[in-house]
Symmetry: C2
Subunit: 141 residues, 2 copies
Amino acid sequence: TQSKEMTEMVVEDLMIPAEKVAHVQMGNPLEHALLVLVKSGYSAVPVLDASFKLQGTIGKTIILNDILGLERFEMEKLSVTTVREVMNTDIPCLTKEDDFLKALKAVINHPFICVADSQGYFDGIVTRRSILKQLNKNLHA
Amino acid sequence: TQSKEMTEMVVEDLMIPAEKVAHVQMGNPLEHALLVLVKSGYSAVPVLDASFKLQGTIGKTIILNDILGLERFEMEKLSVTTVREVMNTDIPCLTKEDDFLKALKAVINHPFICVADSQGYFDGIVTRRSILKQLNKNLHA
Ligand SMILES: Nc1ncnc2c1ncn2[C@@H]1O[C@@H]2COP(=O)(O)O[C@H]3[C@@H](O)[C@H](n4cnc5c(N)ncnc54)O[C@@H]3COP(=O)(O)O[C@H]2[C@H]1O
Ligand SMILES: Nc1ncnc2c1ncn2[C@@H]1O[C@@H]2COP(=O)(O)O[C@H]3[C@@H](O)[C@H](n4cnc5c(N)ncnc54)O[C@@H]3COP(=O)(O)O[C@H]2[C@H]1O
């Protein structure tokens, strides 16, 4: 896609493909999700179901908010709560065929946007970094 | 700055001013920093010293990594470790007078960039969101 004009690009040209995206399963305990997030260093990752369909996202803030009690972080909640119970299900989504401008509008308010097909199978994510890199390249053309 | 051309904008036109930026002090215990990060919802915030000079940034990932032991998160470390000991001091920085293109290049690899004056006094932050909003507006002009 190096030779493609930025405005001719589609989401598929910009996205990180599913096999390179860290994710968790709906049924995982929060403890597992927090370990994935800390070890990968990511603020938030997609949540998939057993058939690899996109179900939502989960991040460090959602998990820490859930275990924050009146006086301390109640770490024992991490092993008895599942991702499904706290994940964010109200998330924007793109398809591989969506154009650059639609992806740009979507990342204004979200650090990354999930990409899924018409049946909901997870294809990957578009990050703010990938959009910003193209915009910077384009401004210098 | 509504009427200013994007390429004529400077960092001062784009930044969130210091008084609206959540921050922590170098001497704060990690417990305080984690509470500020969880309650504000931010992934990372600037670290200032007592004279309001910028010293670094700290985020949830840095704190959680520091307390992650072999088998569990050692929460007792939160009250005995200070922000100064774990904060990230190798951070890029802009000045209010820097131009739009310099700010765009800086946010490609960082969710936000701190703004400080020539003596190191903290002025605010430029976020990826503010850059993306201007780029989107400019592409539709
Ligand atoms: N291991 C690493 N190596 C190099 N740079 C790193 C990095 N981890 C984070 N960064 C930098 O920090 C930015 C913010 O990461 P964050 O984890 O908050 O937010 C990330 C994360 O929540 C998610 N993300 C990115 N790549 C991912 C992946 N492979 N798997 C799962 N989630 C990913 O998308 C958000 C936006 O990513 P984006 O690349 O725009 O922006 C990233 C990138 O510029
Ligand atoms: N309370 C809130 N209200 C509305 N939207 C919210 C929000 N908190 C987060 N967001 C959205 O999520 C993005 C990522 O936030 P994050 O906390 O990971 O990463 C943030 C955070 O680490 C820092 N940041 C932003 N505003 C801040 C502030 N007032 N004080 C301290 N740090 C701030 O700059 C990073 C990038 O911010 P950016 O605005 O580009 O991008 C934000 C924004 O689009």
